[in-house]
């Protein structure tokens, strides 16, 4: 005769509730959220939804809150999804009656790291707009004020753009151009004059004005040639786009300084 287990029921039961052992041979209703009896529930999970809660009978459209492990990543997963045509629903965390949407709807509620360094700046972590991370050092003891907007930004309170540290250059002894974020500009160049009284055009005009140009000889080895005299340079008529360069060399025959062309010069100009 096959074994016939003898199980007794303790108390009344409610359809749809799980059964829980009361003691050996006795079961009773597993309880409700407000009057639980079941003390442990163990599941062995290798799927995304090993424990699922649906908001409707599974005969039509429904949403499901699932608990399990994501097979794709192996990570533990709490998931929400709509099935059979159900519209998607969101996920909220309710703590002591306060509802927190997840992910945050941009209302200022964000999730940060477990710890941070006091005074460091916070950066968004990823593109969700809801996660923060420690951004590193920015430990300002006092106020960090922006008094002058970034050059060219058109915004009087915008901080510096790295692109405002503009630079153009063309190698050794070539053109060098540097602009700081406040619009101060330095450019240098090496060229050859024509007559000794020349208009020298800057490779790139200053936006407003050029305040100073310093020019000098760029071929000093020629001092030791046939006419071993250095060249005297002078600058005048400075504008935002050019300047007048005068180059005079002592001539033994004429016994005086005369304007001379085909001389190699270099200059540094400062403006804004």
């Amino acid at each position: 005769m096959p074994y016939q287990p003898q199980v007794e029921q303790s108390g009344s039961v409610t359809p749809g509730h799980v059964a829980a052992w009361t003691t050996d041979g006795v079961i009773q209703d597993g309880g409700t959220p407000s009057a639980p009896f079941l003390t442990t529930l163990g599941l062995q999970s290798n799927s995304l939804v090993s424990f699922g809660i649906a908001n409707a009978p599974v005969t039509g459209a429904y949403n499901q809150l699932g608990l399990g492990f994501d097979p794709a990543t192996g990570n533990a997963a709490l998931s929400v999804a709509g099935y059979d045509g159900a519209a998607n629903v969101g996920f909220v965390v309710i703590i002591n009656g306060v509802t927190y949407a997840f992910p945050g709807a941009g209302g200022g509620d964000v999730v940060g790291p477990g710890s941070s360094t006091d005074g460091d700046v916070a950066l968004f972590n990823g593109a969700t707009g809801a996660l923060l991370k420690d951004g590193g050092n920015a430990r300002v003891a006092g106020a960090l004020s922006i008094l002058i907007g970034a050059f060219g930004s058109g915004n009087s309170t915008q901080a510096v753009n790295l692109s405002d540290f503009a630079r153009q250059n063309s190698g050794n002894e070539g053109w060098q151009y540097f602009r700081d974020p406040n619009g101060n500009i330095i450019q240098s160049y090496k060229g050859t004059n024509t007559t000794g009284a020349d208009t020298i055009a800057f490779p790139l005009a200053f936006p407003n004005a050029c305040s100073q140009v310093i020019a000098m000889d760029a071929d000093p080895t020629a001092w030791a040639s046939m006419e071993p005299q250095p060249v005297v340079y002078g600058v005048e008529n400075i504008s935002a786009s050019s300047f007048g360069l005068y180059a005079a060399k002592f001539n033994n025959i004429a016994t005086g300084f005369i304007l001379t062309g085909s001389l190699i010069f270099r200059y540094i100009a400062i403006g804004y």
Binding site: T199, F202, S241, I253
Partner: protein
């Protein structure tokens, strides 16, 4: 936005180029009048770096300035003797 060479249109042609403007790179609050500006191609803009002071404008074209004529040696000067004091 355009790159320009500047010249003085009141001078007879060919006029020397006396400025170079990149309006992509800079916002020029006082750009010269349009009559003094020649819009450039990128190739022309890059070519200016051979010598920014060696270009001419003529009839709406940008031309390299011809090389200068060979220098002429200055005339010999007879230096008078210093007066005997």
């Amino acid at each position: 936005m355009v790159k320009y060479a500047r010249f003085d249109h009141t001078k007879p042609e060919p006029q020397p180029v006396i400025g170079w403007y990149d309006t992509d790179f800079h916002n020029y609050p006082n750009l010269p009048p349009a009559a003094d500006l020649l819009a450039l191609t990128d190739a022309q803009w890059d070519a200016r770096m051979s010598d920014p002071s060696a270009w001419l404008h003529k009839g709406g074209a940008l031309l390299p300035r011809p090389p200068p004529a060979p220098a002429v040696a200055p005339a010999k000067v007879t230096i008078p003797k210093s007066p005997v004091g």
